[in-house]
């Protein structure tokens, strides 16, 4: 299992984040920092979507169309599994021929 080190590193990092909030509860965090922290996941998730779509130029058209459909499904239903299902279905349909 060559991935053991990065997996344990990620586990430690995410746990530290979960624990830090609970431990720091009595400390005062500057509001500007709290505001910025709230936007980090949105920005990073978008970066990951764009980067993984751009990372497969061979399949870019199918993946962009499927991702658009999946995004609409997520927006309309708010359900993660519907989003994944719609995205994979469109992607497979477009790859059929």
């Amino acid at each position: 299992m060559s991935e053991l080190t990065p997996i344990l590193g990620m586990a430690a990092a995410v746990y530290a984040l979960r624990l830090a909030g609970l431990l720091l509860a009595s400390a005062a965090v500057p509001p500007a920092w709290e505001r910025a922290l709230g936007f980090v996941p949105v920005a990073t998730l978008t970066a990951l979507v764009v980067s993984s779509l751009a990372g497969r130029p061979d399949e870019a058209p199918a993946r962009v169309v499927a991702a658009t459909g999946a995004g609409l499904a997520a927006w309309r239903t708010g359900r993660a599994w519907v989003c994944i299902l719609v995205g994979m279905a469109v992607y497979w349909l477009l790859r059929l021929p």
Partner: protein, 244 residues
């Protein structure tokens, strides 16, 4: 758990656990998708399951698959896991301020803390620690059962890579992302980060571009929200997430 009255706490824990069951319908399929994607990315059965047991974050785990695929170093994986879960720090602060849990209870409560568990516990009335533990453990069970099913199914299905299961990762990011874009500032964070990713990809390898774009996008949004606040009060973007 130290400091609880046993019977009452157990009932509250059960209440939290049961209240989370409807969300299993969302968490298990996503867990299955992660399990399949992980096997498609070349992780073995034990690594796939271990990640769900110790990291317990859909976004972080799927980002790890994408980044490993792009050949990113371990530190970039850790950085992405931190960035994708920054909201947990805010949720932890909120829980800590409201509950003031005992020092012994904090490490346990932290392990199972997720957006979804916090949201459901909050929806059950005044936030209480055993309820929050119940919702958290419930989600942990669902996520790991889903992972196990997906990883086992991946064993039986040949040629996962050719089926394009790596595409599950960006779809999961979209599923988590879309409900979070509820304010103009959040939309700006997404827009700036998206453009920055494309620009930075010319300069830096994939994973580093993602982290840089995350930083640029959230800074831009925080600046915008701060400016906005000077003229009128607008709500901060609270993360109460969907299933996870």
């Amino acid at each position: 758990m130290p400091g609880f009255r046993c019977t009452g706490s157990l009932a509250l824990f059960a209440r939290g656990f049961v209240a989370m069951l409807p969300l299993w319908a969302g968490a298990i399929p996503v867990g299955i998708a992660y399990g399949l994607a992980a096997r498609g990315a070349g992780l073995d059965l034990s690594a796939t399951q271990l990640m769900s047991l110790v990291v317990f974050s859909a976004a972080a785990q799927l980002s790890a698959l994408s980044l490993l695929d792009a050949g990113a170093p371990g530190l970039v994986l850790v950085g992405a896991a931190l960035a994708l879960n920054a909201q947990l720090l805010l949720i932890g602060l909120a829980v800590g301020r409201e509950l003031r849990p005992s020092w012994a209870a904090r490490p346990v409560a932290a392990y199972f803390l997720t957006d979804g568990a916090y949201g459901v516990a909050l929806a059950l009335g005044r936030l209480r620690l055993p309820v929050l533990l119940g919702t958290g453990v419930s989600m942990f069970v669902a996520w790991n059962v889903g992972t196990g099913i997906g990883a086992a199914a991946g064993q039986a299905l040949p040629e996962l890579r050719r089926l394009g299961v790596d595409f599950v990762a960006p779809l999961t990011f979209l599923a988590v992302l879309v409900p979070l874009v509820r304010t103009r500032a959040a939309a700006l964070a997404a827009l700036v980060a998206g453009v920055a990713t494309l620009l930075l990809a010319w300069l830096a390898p994939g994973g580093v571009a993602v982290l840089g774009a995350g930083l640029v996008g959230s800074t831009a949004a925080a600046w915008w929200a701060g400016r906005d606040r000077e003229s009128h009060v607008s709500p901060t973007p609270a993360s109460d997430g969907g299933a996870r």
